[in-house]
C-alpha cells in the first residue's frame, strides 16, 4: 500500500523495524506535495532540504542504535502560527510576512525533541480568523475532495494536507472550531484539547482564553500519538495545567464499556443539512450497536454561543494584535512616502486657509500606526479589531464584554450539568458540507455561523474531536463531533477509535492520494 495512505502508527512501526527509512518516507510526502500542492495550496512554505537532512540524521541515529524520539522520522506539518526559530512564521498575514521568531514554540520544541520531521508550514486564515482559510493573505487552500470548495478553517491547510496525503500528522489550533471544522470538512480526525492541556507558548495569539493547539491526523490512534507529544504543563504558560499526560497512544485502543452518549436537542434544529443530519444519526446508531446508550440533553445557552464568541474573541484579539503597529512588529508603511504625503496634505490645507484641519492632522507617529495597520491587516482582521475595540470601550464594557463573560459561564454550567448525565456529547461538526470557494466571502455573518456547533466547547474550555462519519451525495466528507468534560481527551480518543474500528469512513481518500 502507498505510504501516503498508511496510518502514522503503522509508518512508525515500519521505521522502527527498518523496513523504510525516514528519508524515503519524507521524500514520498514531499513528492505528493510537489505533485498536488500547486492545486491544493495547503502549504505556505515547504522545507525540503531541512526536512530531508533531519530525516537523514534520524535514520543515522536509528541505524546506529542510538535512542530516538517518540515520533522519530515521521513528517509533521505545522500551522503557520506556531513560532519556529529562525523560520518565517506569518500567521497568514502580510503583517508578519517577514517575521522570523528567535525562539521555538513549546510544542515545536517538543516535536523536535520527539524527532518529528517538520516538513512545512500550512496555510490558515489570517491570524486564525475565519472558517474557510480564504482570509489568508497569501493563497486560498482548496478542499482535496473537491478543489472548487473550501477546506474549512482556520486550520484549512493543516486539515487539507492530511486529507491530500501530504503529511501523516499535522498541528493546528482551535479558537472557535478551527481544528474540528476543517477536519470535518476534509474528512480527517482533529482534536481540540481542553484549554490548558497544551502549552500556548509560541502560538501567535488570536484570542488567548480560547486558543488551543491540537493534533490532526488520519485516525484517532494517530491523533492520540501526536497529542501525547504535544500535551503537558509548561512553566512558560501560566494557563497550562499541571496534570500528568496520559498514555493516549495506548489507552486509545481500549474500548469504552457502557458509554453514555448525549445528543443535544438544539443541534438538530433548523439549518442542519439533511444529508449531514442523516450521517450523524447513522453514526449514533453505530455507537448504539457498540453498546452505547443514547440520551437527549439540552445546552440551553448554546444558542448564545456564536454571539458570545464574537464579543470575547474580538476583544482579546483587538488587544493581542495591538503590537502589530509597525514600530516593533509587523509591516511598516513606507515612511518616506508617508512623510511626504503628510507634508503635502498639510500644505494643501494651509494654502486653502484651512488651518484648523491642518492642525488636526495626524502627527507622523500616529499616521505611521494608522497606515501600517491599514496596509498590513486584511478585512476580516480589521473587522474583528474594530468589534473588540468597540466592545471594550468605556461605557460599552459592561454591556458587551462583561455580559459575554457571564453567558460564557452559563454555557460552561450547561455542559457541567450535561456531563453529570452523559460521558460524551455527539453531534454534527458543521451544518453543511464544504461550501464553494468565494461563496460566503461577502457575507461575514453567514461565515460566522459555520462555528455554530464548535464555539461552545472553546467558551467552556472543554475538549472536542471531529472525524468522518459519512459522505454526501456529492462525495464530500461529513464529520461527527464528540465533546467531553474537561481533560477527557482519553475518552474522546477512545470513542473515536471505537467508531473507526467499526467503520471505514476515515480510510477513504480523495483521488489525488493514489494507491498504486
Amino acid at each position: 500500500m502507498s505510504l501516503l495512505r498508511q496510518r502514522a502508527t503503522d509508518l512508525l512501526a515500519l521505521l522502527h523495524s527498518g523496513q523504510i527509512t525516514s528519508v524515503e518516507l519524507t521524500r514520498a510526502f514531499l513528492n505528493q506535495i510537489k505533485l498536488h500542492d500547486p492545486r491544493v495550496k495547503a502549504f505556505l512554505r515547504v522545507d525540503h532540504e531541512r526536512a530531508l537532512a533531519r530525516a537523514a540524521d534520524i535514520d543515522k541515529r536509528r541505524r546506529e542504535g542510538k535512542s530516538v524520539g517518540r515520533l522519530a522520522g515521521l513528517p509533521v506539518a505545522i500551522k503557520d502560527l506556531l513560532c519556529t526559530e529562525g523560520e518565517t512564521t506569518t500567521c497568514g498575514s502580510r503583517m508578519l510576512e517577514y517575521f522570523k521568531p528567535p525562539y521555538d514554540a513549546t510544542v515545536i520544541a517538543k516535536l523536535k525533541a520527539a524527532d518529528a520531521v517538520l516538513i512545512g508550514k500550512t496555510n490558515m486564515d489570517e491570524f486564525a480568523m475565519g472558517g474557510s482559510t480564504e482570509n489568508s493573505a497569501f493563497q486560498k487552500t482548496a478542499n482535496p475532495w473537491d478543489l472548487s470548495r473550501i477546506p474549512g478553517g482556520s486550520s484549512g491547510g493543516a486539515a487539507a494536507c492530511v486529507a491530500a496525503g501530504m503529511a501523516p500528522l499535522s498541528v493546528g489550533s482551535d479558537t472557535g472550531g478551527s481544528i474540528r471544522q476543517p477536519a470535518g470538512l476534509c474528512g480527517v480526525t482533529g482534536l481540540k484539547p481542553t484549554y490548558g492541556r497544551v502549552s500556548r507558548f509560541g502560538l501567535v495569539a488570536f484570542a488567548s482564553s480560547l486558543d488551543q493547539i491540537g493534533p490532526l491526523a488520519r485516525t484517532a490512534e494517530d491523533t492520540a500519538l501526536l497529542l501525547e507529544v504535544l500535551a503537558g504543563h509548561d512553566p512558560l504558560d501560566s494557563t497550562s495545567i499541571d496534570m500528568p499526560v496520559p498514555n493516549y497512544s495506548q489507552t486509545v485502543k481500549q474500548p469504552l464499556a457502557n458509554l453514555r452518549l448525549g445528543l443535544v436537542r438544539e443541534h438538530f434544529g433548523e439549518g442542519l443539512d439533511g444529508e449531514v443530519e442523516t450521517a450523524v444519526r447513522e453514526a449514533v446508531k453505530v455507537y448504539e450497536a457498540l453498546g452505547a446508550t443514547i440520551k437527549w440533553v439540552s445546552l440551553e445557552h448554546g444558542k448564545f454561543g456564536v454571539a458570545t464568541y464574537y464579543i470575547i474573541a474580538p476583544c482579546e484579539a483587538s488587544s493581542n494584535l495591538a503590537r502589530y503597529d509597525g514600530v516593533h512588529y509587523g509591516h511598516r508603511t513606507d515612511e518616506k512616502k508617508m512623510i511626504a504625503a503628510l507634508a503635502a496634505e498639510r500644505q494643501s490645507l494651509e494654502s486653502a486657509g484651512r488651518r484648523a484641519e491642518a492642525d488636526a492632522l495626524d502627527n507622523p507617529l500616529v499616521r505611521m500606526y494608522r497606515q501600517s495597520r491599514a496596509e498590513g491587516f486584511g478585512a476580516e482582521v480589521k473587522r474583528r479589531i474594530m468589534l473588540g475595540t468597540y466592545a471594550l470601550s468605556a461605557g460599552y464594557y459592561d454591556a458587551y464584554y462583561l455580559k459575554a463573560l457571564k453567558v460564557r459561564r452559563l454555557i460552561r454550567m450547561d455542559y457541567d450539568a450535561a456531563f453529570d448525565e452523559v460521558d460524551l456529547i455527539a453531534g454534527p461538526v458543521t451544518t453543511t458540507t464544504a461550501f464553494k470557494l468565494g461563496e460566503k466571502v461577502d457575507d461575514p455573518l453567514s461565515m460566522y455561523l459555520v462555528d455554530l456547533y464548535t464555539v461552545s466547547a472553546n467558551l467552556a474550555g472543554i475538549g472536542g474531536i471531529a472525524f468522518p462519519c459519512g459522505f454526501s451525495s456529492a462525495g464530500l466528507p461529513i464529520g461527527l463531533q464528540l465533546q467531553g468534560p474537561p481533560f477527557a481527551e482519553e475518552r474522546l480518543l477512545q470513542a473515536a477509535h471505537m467508531f473507526q474500528q467499526a467503520t471505514d469512513w476515515h480510510l477513504r481518500f480523495p483521488e489525488m492520494v493514489s494507491n498504486p
Binding site: 525562539y103 507558548f201 516593533h328
Partner: protein, 489 residues
C-alpha cells in the same frame, strides 16, 4: 483681598521593586546596561510569548502594602491597560485595574520641627504593574531617529496612590521622605530618583473659602518632578498659580477638563502639557494570559512577621528608651537601620542616650558624610567611642578637647586612652584643683572682689588662667571650686 484657602495634594508614587528579575520574565532588572541587552522575547512582546508572574515581585509588593497598613485582597488579577506608544512593545501594559492586590492603608507623617501636626495620609491603593521601555528622542528633529531601550520594559513597579490628604507642600515632601524611608527599611526598593526607581506625580487643587462656602478649584496633575525638593517647589508654585487663576477666572472643579502640567526645574515653573493624542480610554480588561493570584492568610502573616521594626516604631522606641527628642530620633532613624543599631549600642554602653545622640549626629554622621562611607565601614566601634564618652562623663576631658581626640582616634585608629595619653590628657586630682584655685585667688584680689560683689562671670578669667597652667583641668569643676572658696572668704 486674599481669600483663605487650603491646598489639597494627593501623590502617586511609582517604585521599582528590587527584584533580581522582571515581573513577567527572567531578564535581569539591573540598571545601566547597554540598551536592549536585558531583554528576551517575553519582555519585548514578541508575538507568541506569554507572561509568567514573578512571585518575588508579588511578595515585595505584599510586604510594602502591609507596612503601609493596607488591606490585602484574598485574590487579585492582572489587567491590560491599552495604549499605543513606541516604548510599549505589546500595545498594552500589564497592570491592575479594579482588583488591586491591596487597598485602604495609611502612612503616618510628622514634622520634627512641629510645623504641622502629626497625621495619617490615607493610601487608596497599591498595585503592581510592569514598567515600559525608555524613549530617547532626538531633540533636533530630523537629525536622527528616536531610539527605544527596552531594558526597563517589564521591570516590576509598585504604584502607591494616596488620598488627597496633604495640606501643604511641606506635608507632601514629608510624605515622600517617610515613604522613601519606609521602602528603604523594607529593602524593597533603592528609591533612586535619578535612575527612575522612584517617580512621583502629584494631583493638586485648592479649597477656597468664599461667602458661599468652600469651593474646590480644578485639579491639576503635575509631572516631571525629579527630586523631593522639586515636588515641594512645584507644589508651592502650583498652589500660588492656581490661586491666581482662581482670582481671574473663578473656575471650579468640573468646569474644565483635568489639566496635566510639567515641572520645569530650571525655570521653577509648571507648564501646561499638550493633550495626549488619544483620550485616556485605556480599554482595561483582564489579561487572559495570566491567572488570578490567590493570597493565603498564612502568606500574609509570614510577610507581616518579616517586616521588622519600621521607622515610625523605631523613632518612638528611641524617644521612649533613651529620652531623646523627636528631632533627634528622626535624624538617627532617617540615617538608616545600621546607624540606629550603632546608636542603640552606644547609648546602652554609655548609659546616656542624649550624649550618645549628640555624638552620633554630630561627629559620627559628619565623619561618614566627609568620608562618604557607610556606618558599617566606620573605624570606631560603639565600644571604642564609648570609652571617649566615659572620659567626658568622668570629667576627665571636656567636649571640645574630646572632639580633637575623636578626630585623632578616627584618623589613626587609636583608642581613646592611647590618644589621651599621647596628648598628656589625664584627670586632674581634686586636691590639685583646690590648690590651683587658692593660688589664683591669692594672686588676683581685684577679680575676687568682683566675684564677691556678685559678678560671677568674672570667675571666667581665673578659669582661663588655670587652663593655661594645666590644660587638663575641668573648667566646670574649677568654676565650682572658685565660687565655693570665694564664698567662704
Amino acid at each position: 483681598m486674599t481669600q483663605p484657602h487650603t491646598v489639597i495634594i494627593g501623590l502617586e508614587v511609582h517604585v521599582q521593586l528590587l527584584t533580581r528579575t522582571k515581573l513577567f520574565c527572567r531578564c535581569s532588572t539591573k540598571f545601566g546596561a547597554a540598551p536592549n541587552t536585558q531583554t528576551c522575547p517575553v519582555c519585548i512582546g514578541m508575538p507568541g510569548t506569554l507572561p509568567v508572574m514573578n512571585r518575588e515581585a508579588f511578595q515585595l509588593g505584599l510586604k510594602t502594602a502591609l507596612a503601609l497598613n493596607c488591606q490585602i485582597a484574598s485574590h487579585t488579577k492582572w489587567d491590560r491597560k491599552q495604549y499605543y506608544y513606541p516604548d510599549l512593545p505589546k500595545g498594552y501594559q500589564i497592570s491592575q485595574y479594579d482588583l488591586p492586590f491591596s487597598h485602604d492603608g495609611y502612612l503616618e507623617i510628622s514634622d520634627p520641627k512641629g510645623r504641622f501636626e502629626t497625621k495619617r495620609v490615607g493610601i487608596i491603593r497599591a498595585h503592581l504593574e510592569e514598567d515600559a521601555g525608555k524613549s530617547m528622542h532626538d531633540e533636533l528633529a530630523g537629525q536622527a531617529d528616536s531610539r527605544i531601550d527596552l531594558n526597563r520594559a517589564g521591570t516590576p513597579l509598585l504604584e502607591i496612590v494616596s488620598q488627597p490628604d496633604m495640606r501643604s507642600p511641606l506635608e507632601a515632601k514629608a510624605y515622600l521622605s517617610e515613604m522613601k524611608l519606609l521602602l528603604t527599611y523594607l529593602g524593597v526598593s533603592d528609591c533612586n530618583m535619578q535612575e527612575g526607581s522612584l517617580r512621583v506625580d502629584a494631583n493638586i487643587n485648592l479649597h477656597v473659602d468664599t461667602p458661599q462656602g468652600k469651593v474646590a478649584t480644578p485639579i491639576v496633575e503635575v509631572k516631571n518632578m525629579n527630586s523631593f525638593r522639586a515636588v515641594e517647589r512645584a507644589m508651592e508654585y502650583e498652589a500660588a498659580r492656581q490661586y491666581e487663576v482662581w482670582q481671574e477666572t473663578h473656575q471650579r472643579l468640573g468646569d474644565v477638563p483635568k489639566q496635566t502640567r510639567g515641572w520645569d526645574d530650571v525655570a521653577n515653573i509648571t507648564r501646561g502639557q499638550r493633550h495626549k493624542e488619544e483620550s485616556s480610554d485605556y480599554r482595561y480588561f483582564p489579561d487572559p494570559d495570566l491567572v488570578p493570584v490567590r493570597v493565603s492568610q498564612a502568606e500574609i502573616d509570614a510577610s507581616r512577621n518579616s517586616l521588622g521594626e519600621l521607622p515610625a516604631d523605631l523613632r518612638h522606641r528611641l524617644e521612649r528608651t533613651y529620652a531623646i527628642k523627636p528631632y533627634d530620633s528622626d535624624v538617627i532613624v532617617s540615617a538608616g537601620r545600621a546607624l540606629v543599631d550603632y546608636y542603640v549600642e552606644l547609648a546602652e554602653l554609655c548609659g546616656d542616650g542624649k550624649l550618645a545622640s549628640n555624638w552620633v549626629q554630630q561627629d559620627v554622621m559628619r565623619t561618614l558624610n566627609e568620608q562618604k562611607i557607610e556606618v558599617e565601614k566606620f573605624p570606631l566601634s560603639p565600644r571604642q567611642l564609648c570609652e571617649l564618652l566615659k572620659a567626658i562623663q568622668d570629667g576627665q576631658i571636656n567636649t571640645s578637647r574630646a572632639r580633637e581626640v575623636f578626630i585623632e582616634m578616627v584618623a589613626l585608629g587609636r583608642s581613646a586612652a592611647e590618644v589621651m595619653t599621647a596628648r598628656g590628657i589625664e584627670k586632674v586630682d581634686e586636691s590639685e584643683l583646690v590648690a590651683l584655685c587658692k593660688e589664683l585667688i591669692d594672686a588676683n584680689p581685684k577679680i575676687v572682689a568682683d566675684i564677691r560683689s556678685g559678678k560671677q562671670q568674672a570667675a571666667g578669667n581665673l578659669i582661663g588662667q588655670a587652663k593655661k597652667k594645666n590644660p587638663n583641668v575641668n573648667p566646670g569643676r574649677l568654676r565650682e571650686i572658685v565660687i565655693d572658696l570665694v564664698g567662704k572668704m
